[in-house]
């Protein structure tokens, strides 16, 4: 399809900025919680559009390393689930290696969903 400019990320970004600068200060107290949720949802969507799939190859390589396989993340993740369920990571050392990769996977998702909390060390 034809990608018109400004693109989705740009539209969400400017919508969020306008909402924060011109609408949020006028929102009465009873609606403030909802207004903040709207800003939060837009900010998450903007980060997701900005991140795209850029982190995926490295994460797929890490998951593939645990399994001794190659493939993309959406193929390897269910295989990793199955391997975990079969007990392949029950022993101390494989389990510690598994946790390291899972930390990376989870931090990448949290960079989209809640970067502030991630930066705060939680």
């Amino acid at each position: 399809m034809i990608n018109d400019e400004p693109d989705a990320r740009d539209l969400v970004a400017i919508a969020l900025r306008s909402f924060r600068e011109t609408i949020l200060p006028l929102v009465p107290a009873e609606q403030r919680f909802t207004a903040l949720m709207i800003a939060n949802a837009l900010a998450t969507a903007e980060r997701e559009l900005a991140a795209g799939a850029s982190a995926e190859p490295a994460l797929a390589a890490a998951v593939g390393g645990l399994l001794g396989e190659t493939g993309d993340l959406s193929t390897l993740a269910p295989r990793l689930c199955a391997a975990i369920g079969e007990g392949r990571f029950d022993d101390d050392e494989p389990q510690a290696a598994l946790r390291r990769v899972l930390f990376d996977l989870t931090r990448a998702r949290m960079a989209v969903s809640n970067p502030k909390l991630l930066a705060a060390g939680r």
């Binding site: 993740a77 369920g85 101390d92 899972l102 939680r122």
Partner: protein
């Protein structure tokens, strides 16, 4: 949540007639005081009851609690919740006294109950906001839990609560896996958590009445003192260490990560109060097991909340955003499993 008043003229008239009969009164008038803050699952309506005649003659500040149509799995309906509350109240625990239980959904559209309204605040971020740790509050919450845990299977009126099988731990693992649906097969952090709970599951032990959502945010405080333990919809028979673990889980500290007991004090304060009244000691290794279970439980709730939105059954921004909390819950789970790896080790 819609802005329309829950108690429209028809519901108000039906409720007043029903209450008049229930209270053995000449007349009951209900005033709608507005919605109280509450979870995404239940409706809590502040009401004032003016009761003319009967044993409850007088004016009562109360809360009408009812549930929305699609609750999260394993939550009790409101009449069942009120039955649990009634028994908890009977142990002397600081819980709101249930006054009237409406089990018939025909009356207001869903089962409901009316309880006395407690004073104070519940909001977690406000409760944890104190300069000094609230050690006496944590100790008192421990004592309260010890009393609640004195209710055991066989207690009259709680026959509807299922007994876990083959053990409290494995019942949880199987429930969580079922509630997660396809996510248990595609999200490796959830798969790891479920595997860890299975491999390390303790043998079946004693069962007690657990609140199962005993945490900061679900009790009310006024001037630093406990006024009510609320939100009993997940209560059930389980391992007593489950409630202690849930209370201490990182996700319920509201930013005060240094105060491991619910963001208000140290674990030692909570545990000491618990041991005063429970008649058992705190097993820290078991608490660590149940803390893992707690993160999986919270992950399943977040998933289900997100699905309530995504499936189209209940479009809601709040539910949608709760679904996107999954990564932070999983990070807490991974941190916990990292921290207890030495304590638990792995099976050879």
């Amino acid at each position: 949540m819609s802005g329309a008043p829950f108690l429209d003229a028809d519901r108000k008239a039906a409720l007043e007639a029903w209450l008049t009969a229930q209270a053995g009164a000449r007349r009951v008038t209900v005033t709608d005081d507005g919605r109280l803050s509450g979870g995404a699952i239940s409706l809590n309506l502040g009401v004032t009851l003016e009761i003319d005649g009967g044993p409850l003659d007088g004016t009562h500040a109360a809360v009408l609690r009812t549930g929305s149509a699609s609750g999260v799995s394993a939550s009790l309906d409101k009449a069942e919740e009120a039955a649990v509350l009634r028994l908890a109240f009977a142990t002397g625990a600081t819980v709101p006294e249930p006054l009237f239980i409406g089990a018939d959904p025909a009356l207001l559209g869903a089962p409901f109950y009316i309880m006395r309204r407690a004073r104070g605040v519940a909001a977690g971020f406000r409760v944890v906001k104190t300069e000094a740790p609230q050690r006496e509050l944590a100790r008192e919450l421990g004592r309260q839990l010890g009393r609640i845990h004195q209710v055991r299977p066989g207690a009259p009126g709680l026959e509807f609560l299922p007994l876990p099988a083959p053990s409290a731990a494995m019942q949880c693992v199987n429930d969580y896996r079922g509630w997660m649906g396809r996510f248990a097969d595609t999200d490796p952090v959830l798969a790891y958590g479920l595997r860890w709970l299975t491999v390390n599951a303790p043998e079946p032990g004693e069962l007690v009445l657990c609140h199962r959502d005993y945490r900061t945010g679900n009790y009310m405080v006024e001037n630093g003192e406990l006024t009510a333990i609320i939100d009993w919809e997940f209560a059930g028979w389980s391992d007593p260490m489950e409630d202690l673990a849930w209370f201490c889980a990182a996700c319920w500290r509201f930013g005060r990560y240094d105060r491991e007991a619910g963001g208000i004090a140290d674990r030692a304060d909570l545990y000491a109060g618990y041991e005063e009244t429970a008649g058992r000691t705190v097993d820290e290794r078991a608490v660590a097991y149940w803390e893992t279970a707690g993160y999986l439980r919270w992950a399943t709730v977040a998933l289900q909340q997100g699905m309530r939105h995504s499936s189209g059954t209940e479009p809601s921004l709040e539910l949608a955003l709760t679904g996107r909390m999954l990564p932070e819950i999983e990070l807490d789970l991974l941190r916990h499993l990292d921290a207890v790896a030495g304590m638990w080790g792995a099976k050879p």
